[in-house]
Subunit: 260 residues, 2 copies
DNA sequence: CGCGTCCGTCCCACATCATGGAACGATAGT
DNA sequence: ACTATCGTTCCATGATGTGGGACGGACGCG
């Protein structure tokens, strides 16, 4: 099989297994081994193994009783997660842009992963580039960011173990490392609806964070505005926090509508 | 790597590539090769190849400019198709059950694939088992079934080439093999809203088929009631056809709501 | 009731093909 | 300009995926 072309680096088992997955998912019904073999024109043993492997990975499900294969839990989960995240970014962007235009500061969008926040989007003002302390895909500890605090505040008890981390790393001199203090702050955040962090993640930079809740009240993401400390006077902070809350609320609403 | 256990028949490249896919899809942002490597703890070269392969298969997309990988077109297509089909079955079932209870005949659900109809669900009455001439997953030519005619009638011009098939296979003595006659029948179906087929697919068996349309009017599926010819007198046929149309309409409505 | 067919599973010898360490070139950050 | 990092390429190695074939159980037909 010498397929001349730049398409080197192709791993055939993977490629063929994806064909199998594709076939299974495109049928509206559970399929049998022989049926799949007949359609894809691959050796029976090979397809059998792929089916087994895909089943083990939960990308497809093996109905033992009828010996048929259908789309699996993991595949559907993945699709749902992806759809959710994609929807989130699309819906959040115009709101983020508006905030950037209003305050001329950087606006971040992040989700929680383990005990860290992961930035999934970020918009910066054209002027006043304060240099991005965060990049898309970068991770920061939850406890040292307003993003993290905002989400933690609305986590159900079960998931709140984020705060029970063994050690709270000291990022800057101001980072909270005491679990009790953090817990009290988070309680405040829950009441106020927004979180503030001043120089706890990076010297001279402060952030205001608000959670983005889904229909059930679960914090699927958070949005923050980050600016140099001296530029954010107390009253401006209040104004920004309110604007963030309004924007987050709007995103939540759109999110709920899209999920229906 | 001797993982003792019944989990033989596992193809590692496939398994590992699925891990990569899983990782990429679960991040809300496009990821880099190194990032993925660091997370999955697999050799860089290996992950690189999987990323290439998955990209070639369009399951993930390679943003050449930024050298980042994100979820691909094919994956999203698959997810959408699967979601649609699953939703269809779930929504259609109660309606189908009601029809079975009312008429005590077999009710089928099918989609169009090329120029054939594929049965994706089927409900039979408890008594009067007339023997199933069709099975879930089985295919029949579109032109010899009421299912096929019902869908063809609402196909947009572009897709209607189904009828331009080189030859219309003769299934029974009554099967229509003349394209012009078929076209005229299909025109009638479009006006009436339901299709009838008598012994054209199997001797002594007749079917009444109705299309299930999505929000744009595209026939995503069709539903039919099939019964022995002699049992279906003309007036009963009318009654059944109306019931089928009502049920299909209800399914269409629910489908539209779910897709929003 | 016994026949034949079809389908899923298992086996095994072979060589292909995935593997991953290492080196290279490009790019960006300082 | 220098260095760290990242993506890409190369290559020797043998592990592992491969697929033809056989086995046995389940239907379905006569």
């Amino acid at each position: 099989m010498s397929k001349a072309g730049g398409d080197d680096y192709i791993v055939q088992p993977v490629m063929k297994a994806l064909q199998v997955l594709d076939y299974v998912a495109r049928q509206g019904h559970d399929v049998s081994l022989t049926e799949t073999v007949h359609e894809l024109k691959l050796p029976k043993t090979t397809v059998f193994r792929y089916l087994q492997t895909l089943s083990a990975a939960q990308f497809i499900e093996h109905d033992l009783k009828r010996d048929r294969y259908g789309v699996g839990r993991r595949f559907r989960d993945l699709a749902r997660v992806d759809q959710g995240l994609q929807g989130l970014r699309d819906i959040a962007q115009p709101e983020m842009q508006r905030l950037v235009d209003t305050f001329h500061e950087t606006v971040n969008l992040a989700v929680l992963s383990q005990s860290e926040v992961v930035y999934i989007d970020m918009l910066e003002p054209v002027v006043r580039a304060v240099k991005a302390q965060a990049r898309i895909g970068r991770r920061h500890p939850a406890h040292s960011t307003s993003l993290g605090k905002a989400m933690m505040a609305f986590l159900p008890e079960a998931d709140a173990l984020v705060m029970r981390e063994r050690a709270l790393p000291q990022i800057t001199i101001k980072t909270l490392t005491d679990a009790d203090k953090l817990r009290r702050q988070v309680d405040d955040v829950r009441r106020r609806g927004y979180a503030i962090e001043v120089g706890e993640n990076e010297d001279g930079v402060m952030c205001i964070g608000v959670p983005i809740l889904d229909g059930t009240g679960y914090p699927v993401a958070a949005m923050s505005l980050s600016a140099p400390e001296r530029r954010m006077k107390p009253e401006l902070t209040i104004v920004a926090a309110d604007a963030l809350k309004v924007a987050a609320k709007r995103i939540s609403t759109h999110l709920g509508a899209a999920a229906a």
